[in-house]
């Protein structure tokens, strides 16, 4: 597979007041590749993703998006990115369709193309039934599907997804997982964060583990598991962040499916 970099980060650092959220963070996500960003809550996942999407400006380091530097050509870089976060709400008083039209205009899509994209995404994500209802009245799953449509609307080369399946039921989660795989097949670069190891194992070509704002382990899932000498990705993850021996009780809870 050709290793064409989609988004890359070099030496990213970010502090909020006296708290250092991220330091010396490096990452490459190539086209046609899905990379999982794994880490416990507060590890700095969201801060990293926000810097990559241009929402936050890093204190140090640089972000390149399809070779456009985020710092000097932010508009050019942002045009290539679709960003989705699990905790994003929608405009309560706009319908799902109006919301999509709004963002289409903000991304300067030509009207004909915009109509076509909206129709395709509504079909793919099965949105027709609620397209004309105000977003404030939608269920959590419907909202997140509308949100995915927003992130995919301008057909971005790079998808940055911050815990996209957070608090969703199995059906909606499946929509998202399918959509991510579909984008990979179309040669897009996908970076998503999660703390659900099963999802990561199923989706990622590569995983990057982050702890205390810096990368602690990186590689394909089998590589990481092999290197750690543990049986599962969850154990390997706990090993990587140094939490496997200190707190057996926590570990048991984690093995049931989630890391918190």
């Amino acid at each position: 597979m050709p290793q064409k970099p989609g988004v890359s980060a070099r030496g990213l650092g970010k502090s909020f007041g006296k708290v250092t959220a991220v330091r010396d963070f490096n990452l490459n996500v190539n086209h046609g590749e899905i990379v999982g960003l794994l880490g416990p809550n507060g590890a700095g996942k969201t801060t990293v993703l926000r810097m990559l999407a241009g929402i936050l400006t890093p204190d140090t380091g640089a972000v390149l998006v399809d070779e456009a530097p985020m710092e000097t050509l932010p508009l050019e870089a942002k045009r290539h990115i679709g960003f989705l976060s699990g905790d994003t709400q929608l405009y309560q008083r706009l319908t799902a369709r109006e919301m999509l039209e709004y963002f289409g205009e903000l991304y300067e899509l030509p009207p004909a193309l915009l109509r076509q994209r909206i129709a395709a995404l509504m079909d793919e994500l099965d949105m027709e039934s609620f397209a004309t209802r105000p977003c404030g009245t939608l269920s959590a799953g419907q909202k997140q599907r509308a949100n995915i449509a927003r992130a995919f609307l301008h057909d971005p080369d790079i998808l940055i997804l911050d815990e996209p399946t957070n608090a969703l039921d199995v059906i909606t989660g499946r929509f998202i997982v399918d959509a991510i795989r579909g984008r990979k097949a179309a040669g897009k670069a996908v970076l998503f964060s999660t703390h659900i190891m099963g999802e990561a194992e199923y989706l990622c070509d590569r995983a990057v583990m982050i702890h205390n704002g810096t990368v602690v382990e990186e590689g394909t899932v089998p590589e990481i598991v092999a290197r750690s000498g543990r049986a599962t990705l969850t154990d390997a993850f706990l090993h990587a962040i140094g939490a496997d021996n200190q707190n057996p009780e926590r570990q048991r809870g984690v093995q049931q499916g989630q890391v918190n």
């Binding site: 942002k78 994003t88 300067e108």
Partner: protein, 709 residues
């Protein structure tokens, strides 16, 4: 900034707001209901009260012997004589015995207002008894008739009566009016009788009849009552929908986390704030329109009912509406800058409440009776507009004060917009919750060599307000020193302090470098010619009143012979040129440079505005334009200083020395020949510097990012 993007954001904000019941309620429903309810309600209450008193006859106790003619006059004036509150026996005995002196009439009989303010007479047994009778509510007033009234009248002598009433009771006040009317009628009858009996002509005793009519302009009469409370009401009502819309567009987006979807879209912070600002401002402007329309219809309805002469012209409403626009813009800027700090809607409300209070307080100033707009008040934000609306509704507006008010209001608005734009470029505010003051003021930013447009506007406004109040404060100092102090302390100092605080490069910002001979030559040429052209065009287009030039010359010391010509030149030409050039062509032009060529007319416009007069605006704008082009092309402050100094010095010398070929007339009406020569000189000057290749003094990308901040 891309207008299409701003338009898209604007449309979406408007659409969302129109679907918000709170905004609609505050923007349309409330004003439509408020004015009719308030004004009609008040006048209905007043009318019904008045009708009630008019419909009922006044109950009056007559203490003493009233002759039949007097009794019939009372009956004719709608007065019922009541027996329920008889005179106490003791008082009656005193009165009958001649122990009660007659009461003297009040000084100004006709003016009830004066009467009310007058000190009440010392209590006597008679007045105490009358007070008691009135307190019992059995009668509305007491008519005291001194003994032997009929005899005195029959003999052609002076009879005595007195009306005792309680001004705080409308019914008693009415009774007094009726009694006065009845007594006047009775007196006129008596006088007519006497004149007839003695064979005198009617009018002999009256001698002079004094007519009177209230000639206050009808608009003032109608506007007076309204003017007191209306500015306050109008402004408050316009601000209410802004309150919700501003929070919704800022804190609301943060609460729902939709802000980050905007931030990761290919948008500039300035586009986001512009779209939102315009949408919120439009809501305020529509609200202002609805308020004014509702108010005008209500007033028209009352005027129709009362069929009084008082009415407010359409143009007055239009003016009042136009004056609300700067207030709406100012408030929008402040509200958005403040509410974006809030994390959610609730927090937004608690942040905006103090801001709303702070804006409404100066509005209250306009409601203070007797306080009218003056030069000092015209610079107080919000209060100035409130006062101006008051004078507009009263139908009297001073052009100069209105100009000052509007200029200063637009200035404060610009500051508020700059603040809002600044807040929106702070990611700490947009993404998270708070921000540090240092961070907001830009003190911890990466240093840039030159200031941005925001800093330029900030320094301009600071300098202008400081200079304005400074001039008032320094009035006693003597004009020469006052001008010198103003120039140095209020115009030069802000520019220098801003350079220091912003850690800008003084050389780059203030263009502190020498120009070559062509630049210097151009400076001299512009100096000798700019005023001839500028005044020639400016004075022809906007003609100042005759005494304006004289007042100006006095203010500028030109005809003050106590000041030596040398001193005059030193202050008016040299000092002024140095200080004003460093501020305008130095700091402000550098700050605006990021906007491209527009910086040149903008700098000239600010220069014109700074002269704070509608008549000097155009000529000073033109002179400013000529000089700004010099600084822009040569990238040196020196040619501008030379031109400015020569320009000012030339005028001073001409007015002082008055060479035989120069007439005062020439100041107002610059001869065409002079203008032609001036234009030629300007052309040569710009040809000189235009032919020269301007060195690219590194305006690169860092300048653009500085401009965006």
């Amino acid at each position: 900034m891309r207008p299409r993007i701003v338009w898209t954001i604007f449309r979406k904000e408007i659409r969302e707001s129109l679907r918000d019941k709170r905004t609609i309620r505050a923007m349309i429903i409330l004003p439509v209901l408020l004015y009719p309810m308030l004004i009609l309600g008040i006048s209905w209450l007043q009318n019904s009260e008045e009708e009630k008193t008019n419909a009922h006859p006044s109950n009056v106790a007559v203490w003493g012997e009233a002759p039949p003619a007097l009794r019939s006059a009372l009956a004719a004036s709608h007065i019922d004589v009541k027996q329920d509150a008889p005179m106490p026996v003791k008082v009656a005995a005193d009165l009958q015995g001649g122990h009660v002196p007659p009461m003297t009439p009040p000084k100004d009989d006709e003016d009830s207002d004066t009467n009310k303010k007058e000190k009440p007479p010392a209590d006597t047994p008679l007045t105490l008894a009358a007070r008691q009778a009135l307190l019992s509510r059995k009668v509305d007033a007491v008519l005291v008739v001194w003994p032997r009234l009929a005899d005195a009248l029959a003999q052609g002598g002076l009879g005595h009566v007195a009306v005792l009433f309680d001004s705080t009771r409308p019914a008693s006040d009415k009774a007094r009016d009726r009694l006065n009317q009845a007594m006047n009628k009775f007196r006129e009858q008596e006088i007519a009788l006497r004149e007839q009996q003695r064979g005198l002509k009617p009018g002999f005793s009256e001698a002079v009849e004094i007519g009177a009519a209230n000639v206050a302009p009808p608009s003032r009469q109608a506007g007076f009552g309204l003017g007191m409370i209306l500015p306050f009401l109008l402004i408050t009502m316009c601000l209410t929908p802004l309150f919700y819309a501003a929070i919704d567009a800022t804190a609301g987006e943060k609460e729902r986390n939709t802000m980050q979807t905007l931030l990761c879209a290919p948008l500039r912070p300035l586009e986001i704030i512009s779209g939102k600002f315009l949408a919120v401002a439009l809501i305020g402007i529509v609200s202002a329109g609805v308020n004014i329309i509702s108010l005008s219809l209500t007033v028209a309805r009352i005027a129709h009912d009362a069929s009084t002469s008082g009415s407010v012209a359409l143009s007055q409403y239009v003016l009042a509406f136009l004056l609300l626009v700067p207030i709406v813009l100012l408030t929008t800027g402040i509200f958005m800058a403040v509410s974006v700090f809030a994390r959610d809607f609730k927090e937004g409300q608690s942040y905006l409440m103090p801001a709303l209070m702070a804006l409404m307080l100066p509005c209250g100033v306009a409601a203070v009776p007797g306080l009218e707009l003056n030069a000092a008040l015209s610079f107080v934000p919000v209060a100035n507009i409130a006062m101006l609306i008051k004078s507009v509704l009263m139908g009297e507006v001073s052009g100069e004060l209105a100009f000052l008010t509007i200029v200063s209001s637009l200035m404060y608005t610009a500051l508020a917009v700059v603040a809002a734009a600044r807040v929106f470029s702070r990611e700490a505010v947009l993404v998270g919750g708070g921000d540090t003051v240092r961070g907001f003021l830009g003190l911890d930013r990466i240093r840039v060599p030159r200031p941005g447009p925001g800093a330029a506007v900030l320094v301009f406004c600071t300098a202008l307000v400081a200079a304005f109040y400074g001039t008032l404060a320094l009035h006693s100092m003597g004009v020469t020193y006052a001008i010198a102090v103003v120039e140095i302390a209020f115009l030069l100092a802000p520019a220098l302090i801003a350079v220091k605080l912003g850690h800008f490069s003084a050389r780059e910002t203030l263009l502190l470098r020498m120009a070559d001979w062509r630049g210097l030559m151009a400076g001299v040429l512009v100096g000798v010619s700019s005023s001839a052209v500028a005044a020639g065009i400016g004075m022809r287009l906007i003609r100042p009143p005759a005494d304006f030039a004289r007042a100006l010359q006095k203010a500028m010391l030109f005809d003050n012979t106590q000041v030596s010509l040398l001193m005059l030149l030193l202050v008016i030409a040299v000092l002024t040129a140095i200080c004003e050039e460093l501020l305008f062509r130095g700091f402000i032009l550098s700050g605006l440079r990021g906007l491209g060529w527009k910086a040149v007319p903008l700098t000239a416009l600010l220069f014109g505005l700074a002269h704070a007069s509608i008549y000097r605006m155009l000529p000073t704008f033109l002179v400013g334009l000529f000089i700004t082009v010099l600084a822009w092309k040569t990238r040196s402050i020196v040619p501008g200083m030379i031109a400015h100094a020569i320009n000012n010095g030339l005028i001073a010398v001409l007015v002082r020395v008055r060479p035989p070929w120069f007439h005062a007339e020439h100041m107002q009406n610059v001869p065409w020949s002079w203008m032609a020569i001036g234009a030629l000189a300007l052309a040569i000057a710009y040809a000189l510097i235009g032919s020269k290749k301007t060195e690219p003094a590194a305006p690169g990308p860092e300048m653009l990012s500085a401009a965006a901040h």
